[in-house]
Amino acid sequence: MAAQNLQSVPAELSRGESQEQSQEAAQREADGQANFDRVMAEDSRIEPRDWMPDAYRKTLLRQISQHAHSEIIGMQPEANWISRAPSLKRKAILMAKVQDEAGHGLYLYSAAETLGQNRDKMTADLIAGKARYSSIFNYPALTWADMGAIGWLVDGAAICNQVPLCRASYGPYGRAMVRICKEESFHQRQGFEILLELSHGTPEQKQMAQDAVNRWYAPALMMFGPPDDDSPNSRQSMAWNIKRFSNDELRSRFVGMMVEQVRVLGLTLPDSEIRFNEETRKWEHGPLDWNEFKEVLAGRGPCNAQRLERRREAHDDGAWVREAAAAYAAKRQAKQSMTTKEYAA
C-alpha cells in the first residue's frame, strides 16, 4: 500500500496560473480519464498514484473507511465474552479472532490512507459519532451461543460479501480483502463449531443455540445492504468494478448456503418463506424489516451508544501508551543524534 507522500493530488487550477499551465493540467486530466477508462474496460486495477475521478475516490473512501470502522467496532460483541469463554481453548480462539478483526481494521485503514485520508481523522470521526459502520454490531451478544451465531452468520455473510471484493478495481482495497478473506474462514468455522457443540449438548444448550440463530439471522441478512431497488449507489459501484454482484444477489446466495448448513447443525432458520425459485434459479427469503435497518444505521439501535462509548474509552485509555511510545522514540532519536555528533567531533 503506497504511502501518503506517494499520493497524486488531483490537479487543481489555481487562479494565478498561466494559460499554458492550465492547458497542461487539462491535458493531464484528459489523459488520466482515458487511462482510467481503459483500466475499467480491461478490468485491470487502479493504483494509488493513478489519476481517478473524484467521485470514484470518494466512493472508495466512504466504503473502505466504513468497512474499517466495522472491523474495529466489530471486536466489541466478542471481546466482551473473552473472559466468559467456557474453556481455555475457546478463550484462546476468541482472542485470536478478535485480534484478527483488529488487523482487518488496520489493513483497511491503510488502504483508505492511500486515497489521501488521514488515519487520525478517521479515528476522530468514528469516535465523534460522525462515521458509519455496519449496523450488525449494534446488536447485543446475549449468551455464549451468540459467539457461535456471530461466527457462523455474521462472519459468514461478511465472507460472502468480501470474496468478490478481492477483485475490486482499486488495488490496495483488493489486496487488503485478499488478506482478510484468508483469515475469515477460520472465523466462520469456529462459530459453526460452537453452535454444533451446543446443538448436540443438553436440551437447554440446544435451545440456547437456536435462540442465538433466531436473533442473528435477520440482521445478518441485512448486512448485504438494502434491496437492489433501494440501493442507488450500487449501479455506479458495479460500473467501476468495485462491486461485482448486487446486494440481493449476494443475499440470495448466502441464504442458499445457510439452508444447507443449518441442517448439519440440527437447528432451523427463523424464516418459513425460504425457497428455491426454480425459474430464477435463486434462493428467496421472507421479508426483512428495513425500517429497523435504517433506525440502527442512524444510531438508534440497541447498542449504538455503548459501542461508541467503549471505543472512545479505549482510545482514551490508550493515550498514555501512545504518549510513552512517542516520548521513548524522541529520547532515542536525541541520543542517537548526540552519538553521531560525538563521532563527528
Binding site: 504511502a3 488520466g32 493504483e47 493513478d50 476522530a124 447485543p140 451478544a141 444510531g299 512517542a326
Partner: protein, 146 residues
Amino acid sequence: MSPHGNPEVPASSATEINREAPKASPVVEPADIKSSPVVGPGETRVSTSSNTPGNAWGLWEVFVRSSRGLSHVHAGSLHAPDAAMALRNARDLYTRRNEGVSIWVVPADAIAASDPDSKGSFFESPQGKDYRHATYYTKSEGVKHL
C-alpha cells in the same frame, strides 16, 4: 461494566430498537460522555499531541520474506513512532500465522517512486526490443537443449 453480569446487555431493552434515543443526529452529546468532558460535537478532542491529525506517528511500509530463499514482498503499511515499534507492530499485524521469517520496515517517505503519468516514456526503452527475449529466436526450434 460489571465483571459478573453480561456486559452486553444494553442500557435499553436488549431486543428492541432504541426508539427513545435522540432522533436528530447520531453524534453523542457532551452530557453522555462521562469520561471525556472536553468532547463536543464538532470539536473532537485528541488525546495526545502526537495524535493530532497531521502530526501523527509516521507511516511505515512493511515488507515480509515469507520463507527462506524468497524475496521480501510488500505486505502493507502501518503507523509507529520508531523503527523498533514498527517492527513489532508489523510482526503482530502481518505475521500472525507464520507468514514470514523476516520483516523489513521502511519509512514511507524514504521511498522514491516512478511517476505513473510518465508511464509511456519512462518504460519505453524495452518496447520494440523483442530480441531481448529467447522467443525472438525461432530458427533454433527443434534443436535439442537450446
